[in-house]
């Protein structure tokens, strides 16, 4: 059986084994660098995943709304007057999504869409005795909506079961109105349409604005309160690939002629922040990588000088200058490979330790680290490549040594 580069690898391994303390030092150097990189990557990506997850925990991935007439009609016209007029138009009246049953049914057939929930929402007032609060009414199908935002998991008291007579409201709103489960609240909607409801449950999504304003009803009473019989104002969607949401939104926008807004659009600022965080991590990684590369290169350069005579002998024994080159490239690669294996383990250990400590003070996990096998394989491959590349210049010097002077002077 022919093992590729057997001869060069054998020499490389023996050389590394012989220069034990040097090899150990540089392998530790590589390990340290890789550990830092793995730790940083795991930490940052865990943190970011967690942030995104939290953000998406309380909103749809894509929201379909009826298109603004103003936007359509005055598309080509610009200027302040348009903006003003558009604002007026919006404030005036809720508009229903045309043909929403058909669209909602069609959306169910998309493989990448995991949940579809039509809802009707609009402004209203909640009154309880003297207390009077501006709220947002959300008329939903509870089972379908729960697959978009897991409200049932966030109940403080009662249950998430809005009916024709029962509503579910946020914790902060309940506190401000001074009500709890079983108490009655009067809701006043569009054009003085009003009704009295019993509170079936109180939720806390952990987002101030929602906990202070959201009032869940079934679709029909909400339609009545908002004077939108048979209509809905939006369709909420979740998808399996969250970062593909924007692309799908554009597609739906085009196909159904409705306004589709993805979470990526509404959270552009968050995404920007994540992106620049990733960039600074990349910068740190690059610096670490470069210093590791210089470390490998300088140690191998010393080794080439020390082994001048042996290199000359190898040449006299019929080794080509290419074989000598490869001997040193393989040394660089091996140092990278072994160093990264150790470093990855150490990095993971650090991650484990960190999450262990970090989890204690907070109630819920501060972050959820996902240092997968892919990350480790990637780190190993990159470190090996770095080793080979940084070995190139010392290896070239070894390959170009004049055997006569190398053997004579040693």
């Amino acid at each position: 059986m022919r093992i590729p580069l057997w001869y060069e690898t054998r020499l490389a391994v023996e050389f590394l084994k012989e220069g034990r303390s040097q090899s150990l030092l540089i392998i530790l150097g590589v390990a340290l660098g890789v550990a830092v990189i793995v730790f940083l990557l795991a930490l940052i990506s865990g943190l970011q995943d967690n942030l995104v997850e939290r953000t998406l925990g309380t909103q749809a991935h894509i929201k379909l709304r009826a298109p603004d007439e103003v936007v359509r009609e005055l598309h080509a016209v610009e200027g302040l007057a348009v903006a003003a007029q558009r604002r007026n138009e919006r404030a005036r009246r809720l508009r229903s999504v045309q043909n929403w049953q058909a669209i909602a049914a069609a959306l169910e057939d998309y493989p990448q869409i995991t949940a579809v929930s039509p809802l009707v929402s609009g402004p209203a007032f909640a009154r309880r005795g003297e207390a009077f609060k501006s709220v947002a009414i959300l008329g939903v199908d509870p089972a379908r909506y729960a697959r978009i935002v897991p409200v049932p998991e966030r109940m403080v008291s009662g249950v998430f079961r809005p009916t024709a007579t029962d509503i579910v409201i946020g914790k902060l709103l309940a506190d401000e109105l001074g009500v709890g489960v079983g108490d009655r609240v009067r809701l006043e909607g569009t054009d003085a349409r009003a009704g009295s409801f019993q509170i079936a449950g109180v939720f806390s999504l952990g987002v101030r604005d929602l906990d202070e304003r959201f009032v869940f009803l079934p679709i029909r009473p909400a339609q009545t309160l908002l004077d939108l019989p048979g209509g809905i104002t939006s369709i909420d969607i979740t998808v399996d690939e969250i970062f593909a949401a924007e692309q799908l939104a554009r597609e739906l926008d085009l196909r159904y002629g409705i306004t589709a807004e993805s979470w990526m659009e509404t959270n552009a600022q968050l995404l920007n922040a994540l992106r620049s965080q990733s960039q600074s991590t990349t910068l740190i990684q690059t610096f670490v990588g470069v210093s590791v590369a210089f470390g490998i290169a300088s140690v191998l350069a010393v080794s080439v000088v020390q082994r001048r005579r042996e290199i000359g002998i190898l040449r006299a024994m019929g080794s080509t200058s290419n074989q000598v080159l490869v001997v040193f490239l393989v040394q660089g690669g091996l140092v990278g490979l072994v160093g990264s294996a150790i470093g990855s383990l150490a990095g993971l250990g650090m991650v484990q330790l960190f999450s262990w400590f970090a989890e204690r003070p907070a109630e819920e996990a501060f972050f959820d680290v996902t240092a997968g096998a892919g990350l480790l394989l990637g780190a190993a491959a990159l470190a090996t490549l770095t080793g080979i590349v940084s070995a190139y210049f010392p290896a070239r010097r070894a390959a170009l040594l004049d055997p006569v002077t190398a053997i004579r002077d040693g």
Binding site: L5, R10, E14, F15, R315, A316, M317, G318, T320
Partner: protein, 249 residues
């Protein structure tokens, strides 16, 4: 004197295994200190010849050996080895040819300290094959046995005496049965008795394997034990004659 070579050769009528024609070597070419250290060497060596090269220090013996060994390029002239003209060959071809037709023994044996004696002996074959080989290992062990070092096969050079190391180096030069073995002061670093032993070892392999040997030495007694003695002075061959006591073993 250039033509005298064949006269003393016991294999003169056969095709020479080595032929030098008009070989010159200049150092520091193109600088003010350019010096020619070999002034047009002509030499033929037949297969299986056992040849000593003597001469004062600085006369160009090592330079000549390096040119024959394809470790260096002549400034002018041509070197033929085993039928190959070598002037036009690139590094890969020269390296391969070295690994096939040439064996080297150096003054300071130069074993690789990271490898055992057995591995050191196999190195030239590993380089040529790109892999290890059972047959090569068996041959190497056989050679070590022949020089009385079988029980030291798995020791590293540091665990061997100077004489033992030189014997390992001789085995390494012979593992691929090269038609030409070059030895630059192979006994220069050994005491008289060990020198004689090493020398007779070279002679034995010369007889057994039929390899031609070119041995640079300062020891005139040893030189006279060779079939042929070449004397160099100032970059020229000034004498080319038969040894006085070629029977010395």
């Amino acid at each position: 004197m250039a033509e005298a070579s064949t006269g003393a050769s016991p294999a003169g009528q056969r095709e020479p295994i080595l032929r030098l024609q008009g070989v010159r070597k200049c150092y520091n070419v193109g600088t003010p200190v350019e010096t020619e250290v070999l002034h047009g060497i002509d030499l033929e060596v037949g297969p299986g010849e056992f040849l000593a090269m003597v001469g004062p220090s600085g006369s160009g013996k090592s330079t000549l050996l390096n040119l024959i060994g394809l470790l260096d390029q002549p400034t002018a002239g041509e070197v033929w080895i085993a039928g190959h003209a070598t002037r036009q060959l690139d590094d890969v071809a020269r390296s391969r040819l070295r690994g096939q037709v040439l064996g080297f023994v150096f003054q300071f044996h130069h074993l690789l300290t990271a490898f055992t004696a057995l591995d050191n002996v196999q190195l030239p074959r590993w380089a040529a094959l790109g892999r290890e080989d059972e047959e090569v290992a068996a041959q190497a062990l056989e050679l070590l046995d022949a020089v009385g070092l079988k029980q030291y096969a798995h020791r590293r050079p540091k665990e061997l005496s100077g004489g033992q190391q030189q014997r390992v180096a001789i085995c390494r030069a012979l593992i691929h049965r090269p038609p030409v073995v070059l030895a630059d002061e192979p006994t220069g670093n050994l005491d008289t008795e060990t020198s004689a032993q090493a020398f007779s070892l070279l002679r034995r392999f010369n007889r057994e394997f039929g390899c031609a040997f070119i041995i640079v030495t300062h020891d005139l007694d040893l030189a006279e034990g060779c079939d042929r003695v070449i004397e160099m002075v100032d970059g020229r061959i000034v004498q080319d004659r038969a040894g006085h006591a070629p029977s010395l073993e």
